[in-house]
């Protein structure tokens, strides 16, 4: 679906609307994937899917209808989009009035984002199999057993409404991850790499790093679960901070007194220095390493915007309704996340640590108390003890009860950044994150899992 095709389709479809306010979001996706385990391929596929999401307003009554749309065939696509508009109009007429109604946004300016690579979007099955064969070859050499996943996505999106707004974006991404386990099941290591240009990925090196972690993590020793100085590799920072912080940045829950950014007496922490002054966190859809969509909710543009600058909370996210109610601007919205690091390599962070824990990956992270932004989860695929500036031995995995909010107050040092792939959830959300050394990370029990 090109920009021109999307524009023509949405214009024609909107002409069929019987109500004055309709919004259409189109998405076309081609997704190739190859999964492997026990050093051999398992499931794989290539799927092509198109869809549309239509919201119609009849006065202040609103309904949203989404459906499959055969975007490869414009005639069918138009008929299906018109049907979805009709269905949304019918449902809107049935709906009670939306007390938080906001009129449609008019035309907006979106920054052009270079996120598309045809080589990545159109990869062949043979190329996927070749990359996986290379990685399995390394695993076999290192005498470990590999399981992993290689996928490539080409995605086009368009948003149009009856107030004249139109936005179009397309992006590609290739992601490769590999878990190596030792044949005796006593060691496990994980690495993942991702880029919108598949040419930049090194499958053999990724397999070699995961294999080394697996071998090095064999036979983890016990330590008492307690708070320790801890170094988090960028993957672990993605798991505990990258995956949690963006989801608690809403202004409304803070204003309503039920978020970690709420302050007593109905106030929020906006403008307060709440984190270590070295902490800078922001959205940047045009970032060359992690380009992402500039089209936000209801078509509001996503631009480079600070959330935390020098430890000060600069912005919370206002929906259009909440912004209007508070006489402020909507947003800033985000489609990716950057956390600035330093030039310090991970090896130096380790060399400067007297005693502490090195975490390579975290897993099964769930909210325990939203008001503290308290999360629980476990370490996984490589946990190590550092003493006198050296990794001394692997550790048994540990459960933690910890808050990303508290960790950002506990910063001891920042390392180099790298693009990271979220582990368990939100895998489409792209992040550039540093290694992070914190004064304390709270572990609460030992796990026998390897």
């Amino acid at each position: 679906m090109t920009r021109e095709e999307a524009l023509e389709l949405t214009e024609k479809a909107l002409e069929a609307a019987k109500v004055p306010e309709v919004e259409i979001r189109l998405a076309s996706r081609k997704h190739g994937f190859l999964r492997f385990a026990r050093n051999a391929p398992t499931t794989s596929g290539l799927t092509e899917a198109g869809g549309a999401t239509v919201t119609a307003w009849k006065g202040k009554r609103k309904a949203t209808v989404a459906g499959s749309v055969d975007l490869a065939n414009p005639e069918n696509a138009l008929a299906e989009m018109r049907r979805l508009i009709g269905e949304a109009e019918t449902s809107a007429a049935l709906s009670p009035e939306d007390r938080e109604y906001m009129p449609l946004l008019g035309p907006q300016e979106y920054a052009p984002i270079d996120a598309w690579d045809a080589d990545t979007a159109e990869m062949s099955a043979a190329r996927r199999a070749g990359a996986v064969a290379d990685a399995i070859g390394v695993a076999k050499q290192k005498k470990v057993i590999a399981a992993g996943f290689f996928e490539n996505v080409g995605e086009e999106e368009a948003l149009a409404n009856s107030a004249g707004l139109f936005g179009y974006h397309r992006g590609s991404v290739a992601t490769f991850s590999l878990t190596a386990r030792t044949p005796d099941d006593r060691g496990s290591g994980y690495t993942a790499v991702s880029s919108h240009r598949v040419g930049g990925l090194d499958f053999k090196e990724t397999a070699a790093i995961a294999s080394k972690k697996a071998v090095d993590s064999r036979g983890g020793r016990d330590i008492d679960p307690a708070a320790y100085p801890t170094i988090l590799e960028p993957q672990a920072v993605a798991d505990i901070i990258g995956n949690t912080l963006p989801r608690v940045l809403g202004a409304r829950p803070a204003d309503e007194g039920r978020s970690v950014f709420a302050a007593p007496e109905g106030k929020t922490r906006l403008g307060e220095r709440i984190f270590d002054p070295r902490v800078n966190i922001y959205a940047d859809p045009g970032h060359a390493l992690i380009p992402s969509s500039p089209i936000g909710p209801e078509g509001y543009p996503i631009r480079k915007a600070d959330f935390v600058r020098e430890g000060v909370l600069k912005n919370l996210i206002y929906s259009r309704y909440w912004a209007d109610k508070h006489e402020t601007k909507p947003g800033p919205f985000l489609s990716n996340l950057v956390f600035d690091g330093s030039s310090t390599p991970l090896a130096k962070l380790i060399a400067e640590t007297e005693r502490g824990v090195l975490v390579t990956r975290l897993w099964y992270i769930r909210s325990v108390d939203p008001q503290q932004a308290l999360f629980t989860g476990l370490t996984r695929d490589g946990l190590f003890w550092i003493e006198d500036g050296k990794i001394r031995h692997p550790l048994k995995n540990l459960r933690f009860n910890e808050s990303p909010y508290r960790l950002l107050q506990q910063v001891e040092a920042l390392g180099q950044t790298q693009p990271v792939v979220a582990g368990e959830r939100y895998q489409d959300f792209r992040m550039l994150l540093p290694a992070l050394k914190v004064r304390q990370f709270r572990f609460t029990s030992v796990s026998d899992a390897v």
Binding site: R35, A37, G45, A63, G67, S91, A92, P96, R366, R380
Partner: protein, 510 residues
């Protein structure tokens, strides 16, 4: 206001325009085309799934409807086995030339993978079936006007907001329909119509002076039923009670950490069963197929038939035939008939969840019809059946279980949950925590979570209430696989007692 008849007419128009996806004869034609193209291209086996998935959600907060969202997704997926390797491709473009291209893509993938396959895929023998099956429901939830649904939710919200101290409430109703068609080169032609319903709310009380907030979510669970499940559930009454309990939680004492006897209600225990028994008894996990994502399992094949997973009270049954279970079907996505079989028998681990492809990977372990894909565009793999704690012939009651607790906690509802990737170490919260002292329920507690190790936890089980108090819990969204897929699954149990479990305090000053 649209009448029920108008709404039905609108729905019918939608179905008619759903191209080939709606008609049986069109589906048969598409299946024949794809299966014959696959055979011609050298596939040893092929199947086609042509499906439509409808989903409707009504979302409210306080006194307003936030949104009414309907989605429908339809398309087809073709799976082929060639040279001992799988290939899969899917599309929602139903034109003949596209169907042929999709089959060719699946063949291309199988051929590419076969070159790096270490041993060929082997499938257990299976008969061909021709069948039409409908899940058990009385009232199609898609025929109920959305205004009626919104009214029910707003009434529940009002009930909660009527309690002094309640600040916020959000609520939702969800209806799901899966219209699935399966055809295989073995000759099977299977149609299945599945309806599921869900409802619930979250009530929050805020103490702004202290900067404290406490929530109480509904105890309702999703179920494979129609609108009658929503009508039977006392949602408004529960919302009022939840409001009172959220306010009481603000003032409740924080739990003292330590070892407690736990009495776990079915509205809570279903999730512990899911995480600590449902997942570790999946054969793909045990063999390393999920090592890169969901994880592996401590229940390795060497433990089969001898490992003491729990006490003699612990009888876990896998069942894809259980009425109203969310994972219940007549046939799985290999076209194999659904089964019921034991996983844990009197505490001993005796079997796995398996598919046709996994039969024979472990000596003595047969196929159990656990193949599933969450969409026409998703690849089929092993997913969880309903896994439940069977009360067997227990005559005990919840009150009798409580009477024998000196220092314990009764836990209801689903709270925070987390478990390691081999399913040993877990931590669960809940919605409601009641202190039990000398056999009596005394006062509400807060900030409660328990941590344990799966075999120690289930070996600490010393009482399960009878079938009279049995309830089904469950979730619409159990995640597994890469690309991730979401599976609906139920877990049934009665109130159950555990001795000496480690309880931690998750509060601010802990």
């Amino acid at each position: 206001m649209l009448t029920r008849r108008d709404f039905l007419a609108a729905s019918a128009a939608v179905s008619a325009s759903a191209l080939l996806a709606a008609e049986r004869s069109d589906r048969d034609k598409l299946a024949e085309l794809a299966l014959s193209a696959a055979k011609k291209a050298g596939a040893d086996y092929a199947d086609v799934r042509i499906s439509r998935y409808d989903n409707q959600g009504v979302f409210t907060r306080e006194r307003q409807v936030q949104n009414i969202v309907s989605s429908s997704s339809y398309g087809y997926g073709v799976r082929v086995l060639k040279n001992g390797a799988w290939g899969f491709s899917a599309s929602n473009d139903f034109r003949e030339e596209t169907v042929r291209r999709i089959v060719a893509q699946a063949i291309d993938i199988a051929e590419a993978n076969a070159k790096i396959q270490s041993s060929p895929v082997r499938l257990a023998p299976l008969k061909a079936y021709t069948a039409k099956w409908k899940s058990a429901y009385e009232i199609d939830p898609f025929t109920i006007p959305v205004e009626r649904k919104a009214d029910l939710l707003i009434e529940a919200n009002e009930a909660a907001l009527g309690v002094k101290g309640v600040s916020f409430v959000s609520s939702a109703l969800q209806a799901v329909r899966e219209d699935r068609y399966f055809a295989s080169s073995l000759g099977s032609r299977i149609e299945q119509d599945i309806v599921r319903s869900n409802g619930g709310f979250s009530v929050t009380a805020v103490d702004r002076a202290k900067g404290d907030a406490q929530s109480r979510d509904s105890l309702m669970s999703p179920v494979q039923r129609g609108w009658e499940a929503i009508e039977e559930y006392p949602l408004v009454e529960e919302a009022r009670q939840a409001g009172e309990e959220a306010v009481e939680k603000l003032k409740a004492p924080s739990v003292e950490p330590g070892a407690y006897d736990l009495l776990l209600h079915p509205t809570h225990l279903w999730l512990t069963i899911h995480e600590s028994c449902g997942h570790p008894t999946e054969l793909d996990r045990a063999l390393g197929y999920e090592a890169n994502y969901a994880g592996t399992s401590f229940l390795t094949p060497d433990k089969l038939g001898k490992f003491r997973y729990g006490s003699k009270w612990v009888n876990m049954v896998a069942d894809r035939t259980q009425p109203h279970g969310l994972a219940t079907v007549a046939y799985d996505d290999d076209g194999a008939p659904a089964e019921r079989w034991p996983l844990i028998k009197e505490g001993v681990f005796v079997d796995y969840q398996t598919t046709r492809e996994q039969a024979g990977l472990v000596e003595g372990v047969g196929p159990h019809a656990c193949s599933h894909a969450d969409s026409w565009s998703s690849v089929v793999f092993q997913r969880m059946p309903n896994v439940s704690l069977d009360p067997m012939d227990s005559k005990l009651t919840e009150d009798e279980l409580m009477a024998d607790i000196k220092n314990g906690i009764l836990i209801l509802g689903r709270g925070s949950f987390s478990i390691d990737q081999q399913r040993y170490n877990f931590q669960f919260g809940g919605q409601l925590f009641w202190e039990i002292k000398n056999g009596k329920k005394t006062r509400m507690l807060r900030d409660v979570a328990y941590q344990s190790r799966t075999p120690e936890f289930w070996n600490a089980c010393d009482g399960v209430a009878s079938r009279k108090e049995y309830l089904l819990g469950g979730s619409f969204n159990d995640g597994k696989g890469e690309p991730p897929q979401s599976n609906a699954v139920s877990h049934g149990c009665s109130p159950t007692r555990f001795r000496g479990i480690n309880v931690i305090n998750t509060g601010r000053d802990a």
